[in-house]
């Protein structure tokens, strides 16, 4: 069991735990922890391949996604006074079951690339199915939870999965692209925070199921 694979397993576990968690604040904590694990994976990749620019990305991941963004999310939660519970649309046990299905599905889709022919020669290639699973789980969380903030966290989980996918197939993307993606995610989270405030002000709630005025 090598280091990267174990970290990736923890990464997946944290995603599943966040689907199982019933409180908004623990979702934020899990996301923060998951981002730190992602940063550690990046650092491990950097150490094993002697690619120094990956250290930059690892540090950025830990600082921005592990510390700054969770802090911002908490700030929004405190300011708006979000209630503690996540208010699932799909009940938690059923959600977990669906997560299991999604994980199996992602292994089914991409395992051929990992074990089959020699497409991917990376030391991180075992992370590919896990990253896809996390993308799916994040997506599922966006659909299956009512609160605006849980949707944001779901999106951030998807993006974490995506970064892992990038490490899995190619040790991350070119630095300039990676920095740009970071910038975009940061701005997106910021705008979503502002919008959550406005939803709260306009509707006196952050429950997104009330967003049902526009229809045909």
């Amino acid at each position: 069991m090598n280091l990267i694979d174990s970290l990736a397993a923890v990464f997946l576990l944290l995603a599943i735990l966040s689907v199982a968690s019933g409180r908004v604040i623990s979702l934020v904590r899990l996301f923060s922890l998951q981002s730190v694990v992602l940063g550690l994976i990046a650092a491990a990749v950097a150490a094993m391949t002697d690619a120094e620019h990956i250290y930059v990305v690892a540090a950025l991941t830990i600082v921005l996604k592990g510390v700054v963004m969770p802090w911002g999310l908490r700030y929004v939660i405190d300011k708006i006074g979000v209630k503690k519970d996540v208010e699932p649309i799909v009940p938690l046990p059923a959600s977990l079951l669906i997560c299991a299905v999604l994980t199996v599905l992602s292994f089914y889709i991409v395992q051929p690339f990992v074990t089959g022919h020699e497409v991917l020669g990376t030391i991180t290639k075992n992370c590919l199915p896990i990253s896809l699973a996390v993308v799916f789980i994040g997506f599922f969380m966006m659909i299956a939870r009512k609160k605006a903030l849980t949707q944001v966290i779901g999106l951030l989980l998807m993006e974490n999965g995506l970064f892992l996918a990038a490490y899995a197939v190619a040790y991350g993307m070119p630095l300039v692209v990676e920095l740009g993606v970071f910038f975009d995610i940061l701005v997106a989270a910021l705008i979503m925070g502002v919008l959550a405030f406005r939803i709260n002000r306009t509707f006196d709630s952050v429950d997104t199921t009330i967003l049902r005025r526009l229809h045909d």
Binding site: A51, I109, V110, P112, F113, E118, V119, L120, G121, L132, V135, F139, M142, A148, Q151, L155, M158, E159, L162, A165, A166, V169, A170, Y171, M173, P174, L175, V176, V177, G180, V181, F183, D184, V187, A188, I191, M192, L195, R198, I199, T202, F203, T208, L211, R213, L214, D216
Partner: protein, 490 residues
Amino acid sequence: MIELLLLVPLVATFLCYPLRRRRAVEIVSLSGSLVTMAAVAYLAYRVYTGGTIDEGLLYVDILSAYVLLLIAFVGLMANLYSVSYLGRELEEGAISEVKLRNFHLFFQMFIFTMVLVAVSDNLGIMWIAIEGTTLASAYLVGFYDRATSVEAAWKYLIICSVGITLALLGTVLLYASSVSFLGEASDALSWSTLMDPQVLANLDVNLLRIAFIFVLVGYGTKVGLAPMHTWLPDAHSQAPTPVSALLSAVLLNCAMYGILRFHLILSGSAVGPGFSSGLLLLFGILSLATAAAFIVLSKDYKRMLAYSSIEHMGIIAVGFGIGGPLAIMGALFHMLNHALTKTLLFFGAGNVLQRYGTREIAGVKGLATVMPATAVLVAGGALAIVGCPPFATFLSEFMILAGAIDGGDLLAAAVYLGLLAVVFAAFLYHAGRTLFGNAGPEVEHGEVGRWRPVLMAVLLVAVMVLGLYMPEVLEEALERMASLFTGGSL
């Protein structure tokens, strides 16, 4: 050279920031759009005469020059219109001067991100730019502080961000398919490197296929392809009208441009053109069908125009999906025609909205007597959008149909024609309901804004002239672009 073009809207964005007075903001913003237009025109001329310009991270070939021209032209038109449109809202006290400033600021930023989409050489940077368009325009969609606009902005941001995240996964997989051959060089995502035939031949086929599916679903969300289109009618109907025009006429084309880049890579690689074309055709027909159903049922005219945009993006996707020089030229030509016509119609919708104060089709009667100039132009626009001769939309839709029949895609041709007929009847029925009849006594007569009909007339005349006479420059440009897709053979 290209970076100067990028600087123009960016500088305009920053210049707007310290300004407070209405006129000052408008002058800065308008000059920004004018200079952008001039710079794009010069750049397009250089590309047309001298061929592709490649400056490392920035790259303009004939296809990007074409998209750039659309962005700059519709941007300029929408900017001119917004001076009158938002000016009126300011006078009525619906918005404050600070909001007007913010509008122009984000407008220019939006233009900047779209220009960046068209000029990026690196597909990763193109992704960043496309996500940037969502972020820059989210404020514009939620511009009015109504409950419905906040809802539209939230849906827009969330749905498009999710879509685009999938597109990034596709981009990563494309990167993976090239890494084994190119190594981890930073130019591995570079369009000009990837299009080298030797590189194309060595891309991994299976990874490319999965990559394209993710990209099509991802960027397809922004194009408004069904079933990922759900944000589009909300955003288009809630945004201020000039922004609706910009979203519909240019943003959708920009996202389509993103898909086309990947389509070109797949067509040139060992996968061959069949795989990506088939998917484009499928999503195109699906969008056409969805849009046709909703156009029949429309109650809100801005939403109807939004569904019509989904329909036309479907038509364009069908054109590229069918393939063959004729259909591809038709699809490319249709991008231009749709942009011109839809801008015209949204301008008309803006006039109607400010005169009648309602977005309901049933609430608008007797447009022909209330606003005769707008009514004539909207009637022309409605005929153009459903593809009546002598308008250019007829020509491009017919080229796609002819291409389908030539290529032996008879089933696709039949479905395409049938759905177009449904839209034809439904759209004209709804337009007819607003044009004729008697307006209620509470509706004031006369045009809103003196110059607006002139702007609209320019657009209508353009669509009509292109329908009757294809300038040689355009024909040559379309042929050259089509040859990119057909691998140089025409």
